[in-house]
């Protein structure tokens, strides 16, 4: 998906079409090939453009990968949508953003990063450099995906990387994607934070958290009279989220509640709800111009 977007972006801005296809052998280093110590073969930066590679391929790559949402304007300004039932259970979740920043590098033994096991993932604990940050997880090794602490072909990641005979090795790092279990946990965590927010209020009759601000996103929450919470994560500068939340409530009433096969408080699996929600997000992204008073 990101590649398609990138291609169309490249064409719109009048970039030559010759750049649209990157040969596969350039992008992935062959594992057997001897490499000098930690010279990056290639760095793929899909969101952040803080990539410091002086590789000649860099310009080549950036042409057809979408940049940071902050930089490309209205593209992908709404990150995700959560629907939480009145008991704090997650009944619907949608991620609506392009892949996050990922970096692939080739390393020789010994590895100059400290890795550790955290929440069933192998993450960088120390040795942040270039675009590999502390907290990033190992996503793939030599092009083979990593699930938790094991690679797709069943090797344990830390053990594999501790063995000098496996080097040089090419590792892809990036922000770990949330698993569905974690999303469930975060939804119920927000449910409690929402309640504590109203308990600690210095004013009478306060609602729970309606908007939560951070430097990278804003979380907007709308609780209906029946206790269902609609949560939207968006760019801090995205306007018109209030009306989007009302719109999502409307879509929920029309396409989930009116579906004869939907039972209350249970996960929403309705095709029409999906379609209309995606449509509403796109409309909101186009219509809601970036403004300071969002």
């Amino acid at each position: 998906m990101s590649d398609e977007k990138g291609k169309s972006l490249g064409r719109e801005s009048g970039k030559p079409r010759a750049f649209t296809a990157l040969p596969e052998h350039v992008a992935t280093p062959r594992p057997g090939q001897p490499e000098r110590n930690t010279i990056p073969i290639i760095q793929r930066s899909k969101i952040g453009n803080n990539c410091l590679s002086h590789n000649a391929l860099r310009c080549h790559i950036e042409l057809h990968l979408p940049k940071c949402p902050e930089l490309t304007g209205a593209d992908m300004a709404i990150f995700s949508v959560y629907v939480v039932n009145k008991a704090g259970g997650l009944i619907y979740q949608l991620d609506h953003y392009a892949p996050r920043s990922e970096t692939e590098k080739t390393f020789s033994f010994p590895l100059d990063l400290v890795l550790k096991l955290h929440d069933e993932r192998v993450v960088v604990a120390f040795g942040q450099r270039d675009s590999i940050r502390v907290g990033h997880a190992v996503l793939s090794i030599n092009g083979i995906d990593v699930n938790g602490k094991y690679t797709a072909d069943g090797k344990e990641v830390l053990e594999y990387l501790g063995n000098p005979t496996n080097y040089p090795v090419s590792i892809r790092f990036g922000r770990p994607r949330l698993s569905s279990n974690e999303k469930l946990m975060l939804a119920s965590m927000f449910h409690s934070l929402f309640a504590i927010g109203s308990q600690l209020s210095p004013e009478l009759g306060s609602s729970g958290i309606e908007m939560l601000e951070t430097d990278t996103f804003k979380l907007h929450c709308f609780q209906t009279l029946t206790g269902i919470k609609f949560v939207v994560l968006a760019d801090p500068r995205q306007a018109g989220i209030e009306s989007l939340l009302r719109k999502i409530y409307e879509i929920y009433s029309d396409f989930a509640l009116k579906n004869p096969f939907y039972s209350l408080e249970m996960p929403i699996r309705c095709e029409l709800f999906d379609q209309n929600l995606k449509l509403a997000l796109e409309v909101a992204e186009k219509a809601g111009p970036f403004g300071p008073g969002s």
Binding site: L193, Q199, L200, M211, E213, T216
Partner: protein, 150 residues
């Protein structure tokens, strides 16, 4: 522009300072319990926000608002946390919270003063700074004993 209250926590969750000005509702629990609840909420909030963020974060959690108040949060690299509850009309006051941390020196009143005098001194310093910063915590209930913890 109303300031409701201000909490200052150290890195271990101990409340170093607390003042309140226009607080219409108490949490219904003892102050110690309230400090624990507040710190626990902020602690969870930090981890929640770090996991939810689609990209790498720099400052992390800044503020949240409900229908009635807005909570502003500032954390120093050493883990000291300044939390201020205001009304909804207050924008980004990160710099004010930083100034409270760096200039008002809460918790640093001379040890030779008794606890009551220390609290009063800190409170006066804070009020004069907030007045300067354009967030007047006026209508001081000076007949009420100042609430401060150390």
């Amino acid at each position: 522009m109303t300031v409701h209250n201000l909490y200052l926590f150290d890195r271990n969750g101990i409340c170093l300072h607390y003042s309140e000005w226009h607080r219409k509702k108490q949490a219904g629990i003892s102050k110690e319990e309230e400090f624990k609840l507040m710190y626990g909420m902020l602690f969870s909030m930090r981890s929640f926000v770090g996991k939810m963020s689609p990209v790498d974060m720099k400052d992390g959690f800044l503020a949240f608002q409900t229908s009635k108040y807005k909570l502003h949060y500032y954390e120093t690299p050493s883990g000291l946390k300044v939390v201020m509850n205001t009304d909804l009309g207050v924008g980004n006051i990160r710099d004010v919270l930083h100034q409270i941390y760096s200039n008002v020196s809460l918790g640093l009143a001379p040890q030779c003063l008794g606890p009551a005098a220390r609290r009063l001194l800190e409170r006066r310093r804070l009020e004069s700074y907030l007045l300067e910063a354009g967030l007047p915590a006026e209508e001081l209930q000076s007949n009420r004993p100042a609430m401060g913890y150390r």
